[in-house]
Symmetry: none
Subunit: 302 residues, 2 copies
DNA sequence: CGAGGTTTGTCAAGAGTTTGTCCAGCTTTG
DNA sequence: CAAAGCTGGACAAACTCTTGACAAACCTCG
């Protein structure tokens, strides 16, 4: 998306409020700018150049001499490509970006988070951020607009990463939220982690009538079914269907709406409130040889 | 479609407000225009040429030099070539894949569809598929499970393509579904097409309380706000807030729940039921010079 | 403090590029 | 036939390039 090597020197000079001669001097003397060139040799500045100019200006405003300011700006520009940040800082940066409705920055922080792998990103950044957003929303420190904005960007990222999770040769997991339940982010996190362990994912998403989940399970014969619920009532309202599902396939309920006791009543398994735990718990069980139809038949191993 | 290659140069020149000599120069020097020719050699401009001119003008209004503006306009134009294979076959293949819960195949068909560009894929494949799914669901030929399965795969694809749609320098559009409304796919299609035209997108997604949409609009100051609704009641239930929004920004309602009459009552604009129409309609208005705060102030141009 | 050197923003000259516009001579259209 | 178009070349205005220079500001050090 960087087709933006556009501005010629006059426009760029006006844009960043630096005289043309100075722009050329900074390029010549410090290598601060790296404009492309037109076929005739005209400079074509990009947004990267713009960022470097702004960094330079910021440092000079602090009283730093031009040569040093340029060196700092260049160093920052280089550091932008190799960030090393702690998860807590990433969560804070995500919250800041969400508060400012800065989708570009939010996405950049997600880039950094996911550069550490799915597990670390989800466990240490994405889920803590969702919790933080929820907390602040409850304390009215954050508007619904912020929550929607951030949730969408996280969802977009997770679904992008989910590309291809249905392919492969591992056991099949069917993922859904039962009727009424619309919080899918945890479920998608779970699916991603499970796919990392070699599972294939079939995903039905939010608010799926329990009868349809049962029907799909009967057709695709998954090795496991995962139902994610935030609100307890979405389990109790669908109790009969869930019990039916439990008889058909190894069924797991997870999320804050589920509990060990409730799962037992429904005749299904419980995997805790945390999708990371749930995925690792489900994935780390040793699989039976491929000749078995289901690794779960005969109940879960001790 | 638009086989209306009809304007001769004088009329076209007046239409797009570019002198005839300049039109010929842009064609000769940048290949920006590809008018058909009459038997005697007269240029016959089409709506595609008009779109390219508008893209060119948009970039030049941002201060980008003509040569670069033309290159950008051409790049955008290339992304919307008309497919050579039959879209109908793709729709049929998608339905078959959905019926079999074959996510891998479904995704492969989407690959093919989107190889023809966002516009063609959305207009000729994605939207027809959604309509088809809706129809078959109403006739009970398709279970909710199939619908969820397919919707999720389409959503996943669209959101993946939406990566980066917030970046750039064009006018900003704020997209949301008001409270109660959960059908976002059309809205995302709209956003993708608008982003192709150089707009920046800020997205709040489904079921956003109208007060929060207003609050976000007041903060990010979009050039346009788009509300997508399938059910009419989600407009009427939020009437006061929508009118307030209309006073704050150029607000457009679209989708099957909207209508010209209802929009007028609410004091906002109506863009039809089809996101493709809506996006092209909004995008193709010539933008005022960058010095103006909003291209819409003073109402839409004649 | 003051001499001597370095840094930095700015300028100028002369050559080259980009771009909107125009012209001449000829053709097409209605 | 008159109005409108076409081609190809040509041009001037605006813009940009490089190189070299220069003065003011800033340093270092005796």
């Amino acid at each position: 998306m960087d087709t933006d090597s556009c501005w010629r020197i006059k426009e760029f000079s006006a844009l960043v409020d630096v005289p043309e001669a100075t722009l050329r001097a900074w390029e010549r003397r410090y290598g601060l700018l790296e404009p492309q060139r037109s076929s005739g040799g005209f400079r074509l500045y990009s947004t990267a150049d713009e960022r470097r100019i702004h960094a330079m200006q910021r440092h000079m405003a602090e009283g730093i001499a031009p040569a040093q300011a340029a060196a700092l700006a260049l160093a920052e520009s280089a550091a932008r490509e190799i960030p090393s940040t702690r998860p807590g800082e990433l969560v804070a940066a995500l919250m800041t970006a969400a508060r400012a409705f800065d989708a570009t920055d939010f996405d950049k922080q997600l880039d950094i988070a996911f550069s550490f792998g799915h597990l670390a990103a989800i466990r240490d950044v994405v889920l803590p951020t969702l919790v933080e957003i929820g907390d602040r929303w409850e304390r009215a420190e954050l508007a619904v607009g912020h929550e929607h904005f951030a949730s969408h960007l996280i969802e977009r990222r997770l679904l992008s990463l989910a590309q291809g999770w249905e392919a492969g040769r591992g056991p099949l997991a069917l993922l859904a939220c039962p009727a009424g339940e619309r919080h899918t982010l945890g479920l998608v996190c779970f699916g991603l982690l499970l796919a990392d362990q070699g599972w294939r994912i079939s995903y039905l998403g939010a608010d799926t009538p329990i009868d349809d989940i049962v029907a799909v399970a009967a057709e695709v014969l998954p090795s496991a079914v995962m139902l994610a619920v935030r609100d307890r009532e979405h389990l109790t309202n669908n109790a009969d269907g869930i019990t039916e599902l439990g008889a058909l396939a190894h069924t797991v309920v997870a999320g804050n709406g589920a509990s060990d006791e409730l799962a037992r009543q429904l005749g299904v398994h419980y995997a805790g409130g945390d999708p990371v735990d749930a995925a690792l718990q489900l994935a780390e069980r040793p699989l039976r040889p491929a000749s078995d139809r289901s690794p779960w038949e005969g109940g879960p191993p001790a």
